[in-house]
Structures are given as structure tokens and as C-alpha cells.
Subunit: 364 residues, 2 copies
Amino acid sequence: MTTTDLRIAVAGATGAVGRELLTLLEARGTEIGELRLLASERSRGRTIEFAGRELTVQLLEDAAFDGIDVAFFSCGKERSKRYAPAAVERGALVIDNSSAFRLDADVPLIVPEVNAAAMPTGSGGAIIANPNCSTILMVVPLAPLHQAFGLESVVVSTYQAASGAGQKGIEALLGGVRSYMDGPTDGGAAGEATAGETEVFGHRLAFNLVPHIDTFADDGVTGEERKMVLETRKIMGLPELPVDVTCVRVPVLRCHSEAVTIATREAITPDLARAALQGAPGVRLVDDPTGLEYPMPVDADGVEPVLVGRVRDSAVFENGISFWLSGDQLLKGAALNAVQIFESYQDMCGPQAQLTAPAERRED
Amino acid sequence: MTTTDLRIAVAGATGAVGRELLTLLEARGTEIGELRLLASERSRGRTIEFAGRELTVQLLEDAAFDGIDVAFFSCGKERSKRYAPAAVERGALVIDNSSAFRLDADVPLIVPEVNAAAMPTGSGGAIIANPNCSTILMVVPLAPLHQAFGLESVVVSTYQAASGAGQKGIEALLGGVRSYMDGPTDGGAAGEATAGETEVFGHRLAFNLVPHIDTFADDGVTGEERKMVLETRKIMGLPELPVDVTCVRVPVLRCHSEAVTIATREAITPDLARAALQGAPGVRLVDDPTGLEYPMPVDADGVEPVLVGRVRDSAVFENGISFWLSGDQLLKGAALNAVQIFESYQDMCGPQAQLTAPAERRED
């Protein structure tokens, strides 16, 4: 069959990442035979324009994956757990943006620039997990540094945008800022959290910082911090890599940033590190401090590569550097990485190997 | 003489820190015989209310320190360099908030909870330097941890509020946010930096992050980052302490926050660290994640102690922990620490030793 026979489903088509995904598929001219947009009952029947066609959102249910070749899931962990097996059973390649399967030993967790080799090869239904957004942004520059100098440990602090909590995160932050600037409209005092902020972030986020993303474990580590540790280890193939993480929500609308300090096995200098980063896949080096050029969230917005700069020597680690990155967590941190996984899979397997018709595939 | 004979000058009385200082002196009921408010030509003649009296701002000039016992300087490095010697010459104790003298070998750099012992003892004119705000907030919790476990290294990322750049920083951030929310009023496009933001921060700060505070050195380290390294070493009496710092301006109005990871000589656990921090001078432990209690800028606003929480084990350092802090950089990070230096000096030296009349003092 030709690639134009390709049948794609997008589960969670109306969410922040789902919409980015559709924009990317359209912009990249992906040849699609059928595009099936799936969402929960609430969004069923809505129409979304794609490449000049009006597509109607259908209900996310097992049968919606009949005949589907590739299913992008971006509708939360619980729905992934519930529906991804049905898609796999029907022979689809599932590219799942949730954390549902990321740490499963038999599910590859892929950032194509880093570990494309871990991609499944055979045909037939399978799940590939798309990593956590902050993790993706960090491993993209860590990969060339590891290759050149051997990564020994990582200390990272994140500065994560409101949109990491989806469209409702953006709305909650803007509502909180509006309430602060104009005086509250929901009965609270100026400077108090709005109901929207409390619901999404647990606290006010306008002009504030919340060092709490995802739930806390008994050891005081948040789910987001644990993901960055365990997923970084899995993606980089360094199961013992020591990683210390502090994840913080900041009053930024879009794009996550991270302050990273690493120790390496081999001698490393800022110049050597910049040489390794310059031209590395997925990295854009932005490191001209005297020209006031360094990564910032507003400059990463809508940009595919991860912006990396402020490369400096480490005083703490004999072989070590610090750097700063900003990346669009809805693009490379989510939708773009999912599309790149799909494209890498196509490249590696070829359309014949991968995109067999369901009937043939079920024989594998 | 009695303490009510005390003659105090405040150089930079109309600035953000100067105003905090006056509020503190008034609130603490400091007995003052004469309070002389000094500022540049621009603010001369303005009146400021203090303890029910209207005080007129006088010109900052050498002769303004005639007869002054204690002079608080908070008017920038250049003015400190220019006028502090004149105050010292006239026998005043100068408590300087700028970076002008901080690294001078013969000038004590004091955070009373940490190194009150380094305070000058004799009477007569002298300078005591008040450290950088981010440094003060960090060394307050580091001191009890060092005492209990022996500090070996520090990796820190800062999240610094707009008011670190003074009142104009607050106004620039609010102006930038207003421009973003309402559309720009100064000719730019929505989302572009306002003129105020560019002037103060070099870039837009509204809904953005700027990893650049103070000027860059050739090694890519900013002045703010260098201050945190060198001042931390001096205050803690650990001249070789390895410290890796990334300083970032965040769209918060007031209070700096920091994600800190430390290595220690002795074994340390989160419980042991919390026990050392609990009740340590200047520290308020706020570490109940399940109750959503952790340090946040909005909760540190106007609060004297540094809020410390999110204490966790380190995977990178065999003996190590990570923690998170928020503190009011205009209070403990500046004005409060200056007042505490003054109070410690009074306590240590006694009013007789210290606050002699100028004529007597000149004999020393």
C-alpha cells in the first residue's frame, strides 16, 4: 500500500497537545488516507478543520480503532490505559503521550535524537511511549554530551510553564493575573488565588512559584520529579544515573526552562561542550551572553529545537558544566516528539513493514 | 549617653530598600535621637513620615554625615564608594547594602545568624557590608546544615523577583504584564517587551524568564552568580567551597526562591536535615507536602525568616540533600539584615563602646 492509505487516529484531538499534533501533521504534509479524531463524550460531534477538510470528532471507544494503522494518544493516563490495548489488539501502532506505559519494560520510551535504536522493529500492534515533557527537553542536549564525555550525574531545577497543565493551566494563570491586576472578580482579595488557579495549581500562580507538580510520594519527591529521574535513565540507557531534580511551576504561559549541572567521566570544558552541542540533532545553541543571547521561554515558543545556552564550567564537579535550556514543551516536549517517533518508525520500518493492512497484521 | 542620643543616617532613603529600612526601624521601636534621610538631588526636599514626624530628605554629601553614629547605605555601589569613606572618617559605623566593599579583606560581610563573630569590635568609624540578597537567603539555612554535617559543595538555581531590580523592576514587570493583557500602549506588538522591561531586564519579563542578572564575565558567569559564590565562601568562612549557581529573573513581584542541592562531609538524611533546620535562627521550616505546605514567594512576602522546605535526599551526592527556599529579599535579603547587623553590633559592643559621641570617637 502507499502512504496515502495510512489511517491515523488522534485520541484527545481537542486537547492542547492534540491540537498541536494536528497542526504539525498538517504543516509537515503527512500523507494521510484517513484521519479519525477521537475524544470523550463531551467533545463528540465538534468539528475541526484539517488540511481544508471539516472533520467531526468521534467518540473514543474500542471500535474507533478498527482499521487504524497509527494511533496518537494524548488524552490522559487513565484513558490510555483503558483504550490503548484495544488499539494495539486491532494492530495499530500506539504512540502514547501519557505516563501510563513509559516505565513498562517492554514499552520503548523514545526521543528519536537520543534512542531511536530502541524503537520496535517488527510490524503489528505495539505501544511506543512519548516521555514526560521536561525529560524530553533535557535529554536532547544530554545525549550529545553523554556521547562525547560520558554522563555521570545530573542536578536539574525546572521552570515549568502553566500550559504544562494543559489549556486550563493557561486560562488559570491568565485569570489569576487578571484578578491581580484588576482586582478579583470571584469574591477573593487581590493577591489571593482565584478558584481556577487553586483547582489547577493548588495555589495562586500569578506572580508566584509553586514547587509542586504532580503528587508527592512519601520521600517528598513529586511525580514530575520522579518521572525526570526514571525516564531520563531509561531513555539514555543509564539505569543507575544519579539525577537530583526540583520541579517548579512558574508564571510563564508556554515553554519550560531548566538549569542543569552535569558531571562527566571525561574532561569537559564549556568550549568542548559547546562544540558537542553545536549541530547536535534537536539542539539550537543560543549562547552569546554579551549579545544578550541566551535561551528564554518567549524565544522557544513555536520553535522545534531545544534552545541551549549559558554553558559554564562547574566548580562542584571536577569534570562538569552547567547550562540553561528553554524548549516548547507542547512541541518537542509532546506533540512534535510524538510525530518524530512516527516519522522515525516509518523511516526505519518502511511503509511496507509497518503499515500493513489490519488483516495481514493480525497474523504476526 | 543613652541610646536615644543615637544619630542615624539613611543614604538612599527613598529607594525600595531604604523605605523597608525605615519601616523596620519604626516597627522595631529603635530609639533614635536624630534620623537624617539622605538622597540624591532628585529626591532632595521630599518629605517622609517616620514615627509620626515629617522628615525632609536632605542631599547626600560628605557633610551630611557630621555627627552621625550609624549610617545605612542603600543607594548603589558607586554612591557607597563615593560617600561611605566620608561617613567613616566622621566616625560613623557604615552598614552598606551595596557590593562596593563586600569582598574587601578588611570589611566584614555579615549575616548575624551565620557569622556575627566576624563583626568588628572596637569603636570608631568602620564599614560592615550587607551581603547580596540571594546569598543571604541561602546562607541562613546553610549555616545550621554546615554546623551539623559539614558543607562540602552547593549547586543552586535561583528564581529572583522583579523587585530585586528595585521599585523600577516592579513597575517594569507590571507594565509588561499590563501591556500583554490589554495590548501594548507604547507602540510595540502584544508579547513584545515594553520599553520599561527592556531598560530594566534587557528583555520582556512578563510571562518570561531572563537567565541574566548583573553583567557577564568572560567565563559566561553573571555578576549575581559570582556574588553568590564569593560572598557565600566569605560569610561561611569556607574560602574553597565549590558553588555552582544559575541566577534567573522570574515574573514574580517580590521574594526570591532557590532550589539548592548540597553535599556534606557527614551522613545526612532529610529527617536529620529538618531537625537541624527546625528552630535554627532565621529559618522557618515549611515542609508538609501532603498538606500542600512548602515555601512560596507569596507566603514569604513581609515575613522575616527564610522559608525552607521540600527537603529531600540527594541521589547525586552520597551525603547530600536538596531543599527549596523562599525569602523576602527586601527584608532578610536587604533591609532586615542591615537592621539586624546594627542590632547585633549594639548587643555585642554595648551602647557605650559603640555609640560614643563623635568628639570622643575621633580620639580612638
